[in-house]
């Protein structure tokens, strides 16, 4: 950790305040009857600090601390009864607390927040029961006195309940608080918070969450046991009464009140705990009622706690010039062309790697080699197994079964733990920029190192500058737009100069300028000798940086080539565009009255724009296809057309009271419910009950294929993908919708099943149902729809009728490149020749 002047000054605040307090105590300015309370507040502050920092830094909420507190106090009592030196008592209590805490932390890391609550609750219950029954040592409910503890180093004797004990408590608390200040600035805290905010991302930078929580619980337990010793000395008498479970709740209340994870907040919490009884008698309410009201009020109105609430305006005053985050452009211009790959040695070699989850093969028999200094792009439609490939490389396959072999830099890769792969030299980024939300931008990168030296800080500052984040280094990621969060994700992955960088959809969600910038970064990485594996759907950007392209579908490799040649491979091309043979196009149909009309509709999630300025008219009886690559904004548009998602811009008009229903992407069935229950629930939600429900159910069942009709009582989770899709459409149909919206019905289905689903959809359209079909494959959309709109990066690029060869060419260009760049003249015609 770095000791700079301001840190030292803040660390000195604790002892300074303690010294001032002691002077007051000695001068008699504090009345005698309050002296004990001051000492108690100091002891409580240490306990609240232990609970609060454990919660704030590691996300572990413990109700087990009354037990630690009790253990410390009984150590003091036993030591006093057996003439142990003071140092031995403290050492014994601290060691016991650390050991028990390490166990609880390790066990707790396997569980969620709630399990830890039960675990620590059990710990308190068991400890309290032992204390009550083990009367030979603890005196049972009679308690035991703490007469005196003599220092083994000859520093004097502390009598139980004496004034010296009060001074000792204040002094010790001051030291503990002072130690907490540098700890808060250390890499340790950053790594703890990183492991807490995003355990999975933490693993990819070499932080093991189990070890972190074990360590922090050990420290917390040790501190609380130490506070227990102080309490024993302060009161001069130890009985089980103060260590109830209600005390555990009060501790949590004190933490939340002061501000979780802040040091000053702990002091405030300690003071609150001490004078809560006085406060209660002052307002004339029972103590638990006051505690309960304070607890609820703070959580409802000041969830951050009192101290951060007060500190915020103070900080705003100090920071006179408000800085706005803005995207600065990195200093050095990057080369525009990807240099030819060097014929370097093989860095990564994958042979027949498969990953399966239960019965589902997410990745099948993947083989690839990557040379040092090579940029490999992996492409393929949604669900092709691309992300699974990256997860296999970075060790995040969870409980999936991984087979095959992989060598990285001459060492076996697949057996290595996720945390070890960072050390082997693999860094990765995430599709949604999984940054640590509770750390600042600089800390996000700093936490990749265990120890933080001034040199490391300088290195990180340089790195942040090179990606254009230097100005926002002290900001939290949540204050930044998505594009900057993705740069931070990249900077974190680059921090230790890995040999291999794995990028998961780095271009997704970025605008054109940001994408150009990112391409520059990737080229620069390459120039520095880093190998890169990158997956994305934004093909033009991807191809501008890659040396080689690998195409995936259904978990298998289907083609390989250079960026210039890979799309000429018919199999690769059809995996995107589809190849639909022998399907008869529906007769021309211009549609009846307008059912749903969108005007200038746009939508953004947080800072990420998904849709821009979309005008669309859905007419009665028409099958409207909306084609676009993954991430083009299809599902957002589906939600807005459906009415379940309110657009952030523009408006949606419907023709009177209209019933729309949606078969969402990925089916979204209730898997634990039976087929019949899935249908019934949808009807119930629409207000159909009783006899009409039974009639609708009967009618909808007739629509389902016979093999599903026979299994109406089986859980939906047991159906195959195609069958689930059929059920999802049936669930949308049971409410007799005016418009049926189907989002990516073909996703992940084998070709024969896709045909069956589409035949059934076409049948519905023939019967006159208005259908909106969102489809990844352009050719499929063209083959079944009356009208097709191509969506590219949130914008309707072209809109027209299939069957017009000029439109088909335009649509294909728009699908890949976003605009009809080839022939602007015909584009205008196509745009205007749409349905009138």
């Amino acid at each position: 950790m770095v000791f700079n002047r301001s840190l030292l000054a803040r660390a000195a605040l604790g002892p300074a305040a303690g010294a001032v307090l002691m002077v007051f105590m000695a001068s008699g300015a504090i009345p005698a009857y309050q002296m004990y309370s001051v000492g108690l507040a100091a002891v409580y502050a240490v306990v609240v600090l232990s609970v609060g920092l454990l919660a704030g830094w590691s996300g572990i909420w413990s109700v087990g601390h009354p037990a630690f507190f009790a253990i410390g106090a009984y150590f003091a009592a036993y030591g006093s009864g057996h003439d142990w030196p003071l140092e031995a008592v403290i050492l014994g209590a601290v060691a016991t607390g650390a050991a028990l805490g390490a166990f609880l932390g390790y066990a707790g890391a396997r569980f969620s927040v709630l399990y830890i609550a039960l675990l620590t609750l059990a710990f308190t219950m068991v400890t309290l029961e032992l204390i009550n029954r083990w009367s030979s040592v603890t005196g049972g409910d009679q308690g035991v006195p703490v007469l005196q503890l003599r220092s083994g180093l000859g520093l004097g004797t502390v009598l139980g309940g004496s004034t010296e004990a009060q001074y000792l408590a204040v002094g010790a608390a001051a030291v503990v608080l002072a130690l907490a200040v540098p700890a808060a600035a250390s890499g340790l805290r950053m790594r703890l918070v990183a492991a807490k905010s995003h355990p999975l991302a933490a693993r990819t930078i070499g932080i093991a969450p189990e070890a972190q929580s074990s360590l922090s619980f050990a420290v917390s337990g040790a501190c609380t046991c130490f506070a227990g010793v102080l309490l024993g000395l302060l009161t001069g008498f130890v009985s089980p009464d103060p260590f109830s479970l209600n005390f555990g709740i009060s501790l949590i209340a004190a933490c939340v009140l002061g501000g979780v994870g802040t040091i000053l907040g702990a002091v405030a919490g300690g003071i609150y705990l001490t004078w809560n009884p006085s406060l209660s008698s002052a307002v004339g309410l029972p103590q638990p009622v006051v505690q309960g009201i304070v607890l609820i009020a703070v959580l409802l109105f000041l969830p951050g706690g009192v101290v951060p609430f007060l500190a915020k305006p103070a900080r705003t005053l100090l920071r006179r010039v408000p800085r706005r985050p803005h995207a600065e452009t990195p200093a050095d211009p990057s080369p525009n062309q990807a240099p030819a790959p060097t014929g370097g040695p093989v860095l990564l070699n994958l042979e027949h790697v498969s990953v399966s989850y239960g019965g589902l093969k997410a990745l099948e028999d993947a083989s690839l080699t990557l040379r040092q200094n090579e940029i490999l792009a992996v492409i393929g439609p949604n669900g092709a197994g691309k992300t699974t490939l990256l997860n296999a490389l970075s060790g995040l396959t969870g409980n999936g079964r991984v087979s095959g072999t992989a060598d990285f830099a001459g060492r076996p890769l697949l057996k290595a733990r996720a945390t070890a792969r960072r050390r082997m030299g693999i860094g990765r980024t995430f599709q949604h920029a999984e940054v640590f939300s509770e750390l600042t931008v600089a800390e996000n990168v700093l936490c990749t190192r265990r120890r933080i030296t001034p040199r490391r800080r300088a290195e990180v500052a340089r790195l942040l500058h090179s990606v254009g984040l230097a100005d926002v280094a002290d900001r939290r990621p949540a204050e930044l737009p998505f594009g900057l969060q993705k740069r931070l994700d990249l900077a974190r992955a680059m921090a230790e100069e890995p040999q291999l960088l794995v990028l998961d959809e780095p271009f997704g969600g970025l605008d054109a300028g940001e994408r150009a910038l990112l391409a520059g970064h990737i080229r620069r990485l390459h120039a520095d000798g880093t190998a890169v594996v990158v997956i994305d759907h934004v093909l033009d950007d991807l191809f501008s940086v890659a040396h080689r392209v690998l195409a995936f579908d259904f978990g298998r490799t289907i083609g390989e080539g250079t960026p210039d040649t890979v799309l000429q491979d018919p199999e690769v091309r059809s995996s995107y565009l589809g190849s639909v043979e022998g399907r008869t196009r529906p007769p021309e149909h211009t549609g009846g009255r307008s059912m749903v009309r969108l005007h200038g509709v746009g939508h953004a999630y947080g800072g990420v724009v998904a849709l821009r300025d979309v005008d669309l008219d859905v007419r009665q009886g028409v099958v409207l296809g909306i084609a676009g690559a993954n991430g083009a904004g299809k599902s957002t548009l589906a939600g807005i057309l459906h009415g379940s998602l309110a657009p952030t811009h523009g408006n949606r008009e419907t023709a009177g009271a209209l019933r729309t229903s949606l078969a969402p992407e990925g089916r979204a069935l209730f898997k634990t419910l039976s087929l019949r229950e899935n249908l019934e629930v949808a009807a119930y939600a629409a207000g159909i009950t009783g006899a009409p429900l039974r009639a609708r159910l009967e009618e909808t069942m007739q629509w389902l294929p016979p093999r599903l009709r026979d299994r109406m009582s089986a859980p939906a989770g047991g159906l195959s993908g195609g069958e689930q899709q059929m059920l999802a459409i049936a669930r949308a149909l049971i409410v007799s919708p005016d418009i049926l919206i189907v989002d990516e019905p073909a996703l992940g289905l084998a070709p024969a099943l896709v045909d069956e689903v589409y035949d059934r959809l076409s049948g519905l359209a023939r019967d006159g149902l208005t259908v909106v079909l969102l489809e990844q494959l352009l050719s499929r959309a063209l083959s079944v729809c009356h009208e097709v709109a191509v969506l590219h990066e949130g914008v309707v690029a072209v809109h027209g009728r299939p069957g017009d060869p000029a439109f088909e060419a335009l649509a294909e260009a728009a699908y890949f490149n976003g605009g009809p760049t080839l022939a602007p003249g015909t584009a205008a015609t196509a745009q205007t020749s749409q349905v009138n």
Binding site: Y115, L200, I249, A253, V256, L299, A668, V681, Y684
Partner: protein, 289 residues
């Protein structure tokens, strides 16, 4: 043998109470992501009202009914007033808020009805002799009532459309929204049901333990242990877990040591969870990036 039978029946009766309370906790947790720590103290309020009615000569059955009504009403008020404003997905805050409610409710009960233990009337007196053991009818009734209540809950959730809707909303709130289910209405129904079960289990438990403001803390913690053992989101798990805890608890108290009941029950639970973190009926979750 007769001793063993007696302990077993008593264990099953306790387990039925824990299971019923656990069932209430799980129903509320699945529907609203709230671990309702205040359930026991709210049910205690109901018990005190039932006892007051009993002391005025009202039939015990009506008293039980009143307890259920009071508990459900108090619970719904708590949810609307302090849980709903927290917003969705506030797992920890919601738990701590219910802790606060619990502190207040216990204190209020103490200041109205006093902290002295009171005896709560048996719903039925007497005992039946069976293979040499005198089994209290109250225990048998407890088992029977709990069984009927569990069967009714089972019927509701598996045989009715409302039950299907509640299971659907519990499985995926997002999908429920797409389908158009009203999540607030289902949440209120779940809270009412969960608290009703808690009040019923409290009325079955109180005759044996007597009534103090904190009387239901011990069964609540055992119900917690039971639902964690069962897997937290499984209703079968809550019942089986509760029964396991009840039988273990009574067996340990009779055959090992009455002084270390908590130690035994909680150590067992933690050990099982260390070996199988997802509980007996829970499913392991896996986070995908």
């Amino acid at each position: 043998m007769s001793q063993f039978l007696l302990v077993l029946v008593s264990g099953v009766a306790s387990g039925a109470v824990y299971g019923l309370m656990g069932l209430g906790l799980v129903i509320i947790y699945r529907a609203t992501d709230v671990v309702n720590f205040a359930m026991a103290s709210l049910a205690t309020l109901g018990l005190y009202v039932a006892l007051s009615l009993h002391d005025r000569g009202v039939a015990t059955l009506l008293g039980v009914l009143a307890a259920v009504v009071i508990t459900v009403t108090a619970g719904l008020v708590v949810r609307e007033a302090v849980i709903r404003p927290l917003g969705q997905g506030q797992l920890f805050s919601a738990l701590v808020v219910t802790m606060g409610v619990s502190l207040i409710a216990e204190s209020v009960a103490g200041s109205i009805w006093g902290n002295q233990p009171k005896s709560f009337p048996n719903l039925i007196d007497g005992s039946v002799r069976w293979s040499g053991a005198a089994l209290p009818v109250q225990s048998l009734l407890t088992i029977a009532v709990a069984a009927v209540a569990m069967a009714l809950v089972g019927y509701l959730f598996t045989r009715t459309t409302l039950g299907s809707a509640m299971r659907a909303a519990a499985e995926s709130a997002d999908t429920a929204r797409v389908v158009g289910l009203s999540s607030q209405r289902l949440a209120r129904i779940s809270w009412a049901l969960g608290l009703g079960l808690a009040a019923l289990s409290a009325c079955l438990y109180a005759p044996r333990s007597g009534l103090v403001p904190t009387a239901l803390v011990a069964p609540l913690f055992r119900a917690f242990a039971g639902i964690f053992l069962g897997g937290l989101t499984s209703m079968y798990g809550a019942v089986v877990g509760g029964l396991t805890i009840g039988v273990l608890d009574n067996m340990a108290a009779n055959y090992i040591s009455a002084s270390f009941r908590d130690t035994f029950v909680f150590s067992f639970t933690v050990l099982v969870l260390l070996i199988r973190p997802q509980g007996m009926f829970g499913t392991r979750t896996f986070q995908r990036v």
